[in-house]
Symmetry: C2
Subunit: 431 residues, 2 copies
C-alpha cells in the first residue's frame, strides 16, 4: 500500500516530517501549515522516491518561490550541461527546477537531475510522450499515462498537465494574435481538432489522479491557453480554461492529490492584480504558479527584466511561485549565463514581494546590506549580495586610488563628494 500524500496526511490531521520541515523554514506553527496543506492552500511537492530532496512549501502564505526551467532542446546540451545549469540555478536561489528537455536522452537527463537536485523537480510529461512520435496526432492517452507513471516512479515531484484546455475553448483561441504559445497546449489543440475529440487528459483525469496519488506527485495544472502577447492577455480563452482548472483543483483535492495552477504569461501591468484575484476566487486559492508575467512585448533580449517587473507585482498580489524568464526568451534556448541572469532577476522580484508582504525576517538581508554600506564595509556588502561575484567585480573595475591618501576609493562620487562620508561626518560631529 502506498503512503499517504501530504494532503491526505493533513486531511487526517497528521503532521508529516515534510510539513514539520517546511513549517520551520517558514517560521509557522506546524499545525497552521498542516491546515494550509489540508485545504490545498499550500502544496509540498515531494515524491518519496526523490531521495535527495529537501522539501519546500508553495503557497501564498509562504515565502515566494521561484522556479528555473532547465533541460536541453534538440540542438543543445546533454546531462553534464544540465547538471551545470542545475547547480547554477540552485546557487543563485531557485526553489524548484523544471526539466523541460525535449532534445533526446530524456530519461538519462532526468535521472541525473533527480539524483543531484535538493529542490523539487518538475516536468511536462507530454514532451516525452510526443518526443518519441513522428506525428503529434499519434498521441494517445495510454502513451501519456505510461510516461506519467514512469516519471512518477523515477521520482518527479510535480508535473505540468494541460488538462484544462478543451475543444470548446478553441474558437476563442483562434481569434488571437499569437494563437497558442504553450507547447503542450498547441499540440493538444491540433490533436482535438483533427480527431474531433475532447482533451484526453481531461477525459481520463481520474486515471491521472490515481498515478499522482500513488507517488504523491503534485499536479501543476498547465495553462495551455496562456496568452502569448499583451494583445491576447485576459481574453475569453484564458478565462474559460481557468474555470476548468478551478474545477480540476477541487477534483485533485477530493482525490487526495496536491494541485497548483499555472498562470500567464504576457499581462499588461494593470491587469496583473485582477488576474491574481481571479485565480484566487476561481481556483479556491490554490497556489498560483505564474510565468513572469511579461509586461511588454518589445524587449526581446531583456525579458528577464520585463518578466521580473510582472513577477514582482504578481507575487505582491498573491502569486505563490514565479517561473523565471531568461534574457533569451523568444530568441533561443537559455545558456548557463542566461540561467544565472534569469534566477537572479526573479530572486529580486520574489524577495521584493516578500519584503512588501512583511514576511518575518524578509528585510533582514536588506538592512544588513544597508548597514554595511553606511559603514563602508564593502566585504560584507559583497557577501550579502544576491550575486557576490558580480558586485565585487563591478566595484573592483570602478575603484581608483584617492589622489591624496592613495587609498582605494569608490568612483561613485569620487574622493570629495561622497554623500555617505559627508553624512557620517555630520552625524558624528553635530550631536
Amino acid at each position: 500500500m502506498n503512503p499517504l500524500t501530504q494532503i491526505q496526511c493533513a486531511q487526517q490531521d497528521l503532521i508529516s516530517p515534510a510539513m514539520r520541515e517546511v513549517a520551520e523554514q517558514e517560521h509557522l506553527p506546524p499545525e497552521h501549515l498542516r491546515d494550509l496543506v489540508a485545504r490545498g492552500r499550500v502544496v509540498i511537492p515531494a515524491n518519496p522516491r526523490h531521495a535527495s530532496l529537501r522539501p519546500i512549501g508553495i503557497g501564498r502564505a509562504l515565502r515566494t518561490k521561484i522556479n528555473a526551467n532547465i533541460g536541453n532542446s534538440a540542438s543543445s546540451g546533454g546531462p553534464e550541461t544540465e547538471l551545470e545549469k542545475l547547480a547554477c540555478a540552485i546557487r543563485y536561489g531557485a526553489d524548484t527546477v523544471m526539466d523541460l528537455s525535449t532534445g533526446g536522452c530524456l530519461e538519462a537527463i532526468r535521472a541525473h537531475i533527480l539524483a543531484h537536485s535538493p529542490v523539487p523537480v518538475g516536468t511536462v510529461p507530454i514532451y516525452e510522450a510526443l518526443a518519441k512520435l513522428d506525428d503529434p496526432l499519434d498521441l494517445s492517452i495510454e502513451r501519456l499515462l505510461e510516461v506519467i507513471a514512469a516519471q512518477a516512479e523515477q521520482g518527479v515531484d510535480f508535473m505540468t498537465l494541460h488538462a484544462g484546455i478543451l475543444r470548446e475553448h478553441l474558437p476563442a483561441a483562434r481569434q488571437r494574435l499569437t494563437g497558442i504559445v504553450s507547447r503542450g497546449g498547441s499540440a493538444l489543440a491540433l490533436w482535438m481538432d483533427r480527431h474531433g475529440r475532447q482533451n484526453p487528459i481531461f477525459e481520463h483525469f481520474d486515471r491521472v489522479l490515481d498515478i499522482c496519488r500513488a507517488h504523491d506527485v503534485t499536479i501543476s495544472l498547465g495553462d495551455g491557453l496562456r496568452p502569448g502577447c499583451l494583445a491576447d492577455a485576459s481574453d475569453d480563452a484564458q478565462f474559460a480554461e481557468l474555470r476548468v482548472l478551478g474545477d480540476l483543483v477541487r477534483r485533485c483535492r477530493a482525490a487526495g492529490v496536491q494541485a497548483m495552477v499555472e498562470g500567464p504569461g504576457h499581462v499588461p501591468l494593470h491587469e496583473i492584480e485582477p488576474n491574481m484575484r481571479a485565480e484566487r476566487e476561481i481556483c479556491d486559492d490554490a497556489p498560483f504558479y505564474i510565468l513572469g508575467p511579461i509586461v511588454t512585448d518589445c524587449a526581446p533580449g531583456y525579458d528577464h527584466i520585463t518578466a521580473a517587473i510582472g513577477g514582482a507585482l504578481g507575487a505582491l498580489h498573491g502569486a505563490a511561485m514565479l517561473c523565471y524568464v531568461t534574457p533569451r526568451e523568444h530568441l533561443g534556448w537559455p545558456t548557463l549565463e542566461d540561467v544565472r541572469q534569469g534566477v537572479i532577476a526573479f530572486r529580486i522580484a520574489a524577495h521584493a514581494a516578500d519584503v512588501a508582504a512583511g514576511r518575518p525576517g524578509a528585510r533582514d538581508r536588506d538592512d544588513a546590506v544597508s548597514r554595511a554600506r553606511a559603514a563602508f564595509d564593502w566585504e560584507s556588502q559583497f557577501r550579502l549580495a544576491l550575486d557576490p561575484e558580480r558586485a565585487r567585480t563591478m566595484h573592483a573595475e570602478s575603484s581608483s586610488a584617492h589622489p591624496a591618501t592613495g587609498e582605494p576609493c569608490c568612483t561613485m562620487c569620487g574622493p570629495r563628494f561622497c554623500a555617505l562620508r559627508i553624512s557620517r561626518d555630520w552625524k558624528q560631529s553635530a550631536k
Copy 2:
C-alpha cells in the same frame, strides 16, 4: 526684457511653439496641454539658449519620460566620453539627460553636452559650486547663485536644487540607518549644522526664482532627504521635506517658474503607490520625478532591475519621469555599457506603465512585435525591439540548422516542438 516662461505664456492663455510641438507628440489638443502647463501639471524644460533642443513635456498626463545621468567623476571621463554616453542614452530612448559631472572640466563638458543634446539637459548646480571649494563649509549663497546664473546662461534646461531640506529636519534624519545619501543634501546638512543656519537655498529662494524665470529654467526640487535604504523609506524626514517642497512648488508657480518634484529612492514595493499619492496631494500634482525606486537593497550589480521594478510601479501610479539606475549603482560610476543597460531597463519600465495607462498608441509597438513573432518574421521582431542588436545577436547565437531541411531553426523549442508552428498549422487547417 526676457521672454515669458512656458508657464507664464500658458497662464496668459498663450500657446507657445514648444507647447504646440509637445501637444503633437502627445496626441493632445494644444489647448489642453496649455492648461496643464498653466496649472503646473506639465513642465516643458526648454531654456531658450539651448539651441539644439527638441522640447518635450513632463507630467502625469503625458507619456512617461526617463532621464539618464551622465557626466564624469574624479576618476573618469572627459568631454569625449560624455558625448559617447549622451549618444548612447539618446539612441536607446532617454528623454532627458542630467550632467552630474564633478570630476573637472565642468563647464567644457556641459558646453559639449548642451551643443549636442536634442533632449533637455539638467544639472545639480551645487556640485559645481562645491567643486571649486576645499571645504564644503565655505559654500555661500552668492557662490551658488553665480553658478546657477552661469549655467542658466549656458542653456541648462532644468536644475536640481535642494531647497527643501531644512535645519529642523535634521534630527529625524540622524536616526536613519543610512543617513543622508543625496550628495547635495548631505553637504547642506553639514553646512547648516556647523554654521547653525538655515538652508541658504531655501532662505534665498526668491533670488533663485528670479534667475530661473529669466532663462525659463525648470526647477527640479531635489529631495535631499530621500531614503537611502528600505529601512529609511517613508520616514518623518522624507515627508517633512516633501511638505516643504509642496510649498515651494506653489511659490514657483506664483513666480512664473516651472517646477517638478524629485522623489525616492529606496521604497518597498507596497509603499510605492502611497508615495505617489502623497506627492500628488502635497505638491498639488506637480510632475513627480523619481529615482527608481529601488525595491530591495540586496542586489548590487543588478540595481537597474531592482529599480525598473519600482519605476514601473511608480509610473503606473503617477510618476511623470523616472531617473534611471544602472547596474553599477552603489558600486561605481557608470560606464558606457552601464548607461545602455540602465536606459533600456527604464524604457521597459516606462513603456510598460504607458501601455497599462492606455496612452494612445502605446501598445502598437508590442502588437507589431507579436505579429512578427506569429509570422516568424525575425527581421521585423529585431527592428522593433528596444535593443535590435542584442536581440539579433542572441538569436544568431542560438540558431541551429534544422536536421531535416537544413534551414536555420530557432532553439527555443527545437525543430519539432515549436508551439507557434503547431498553432499556425492548427489555425490554418481546422477552419
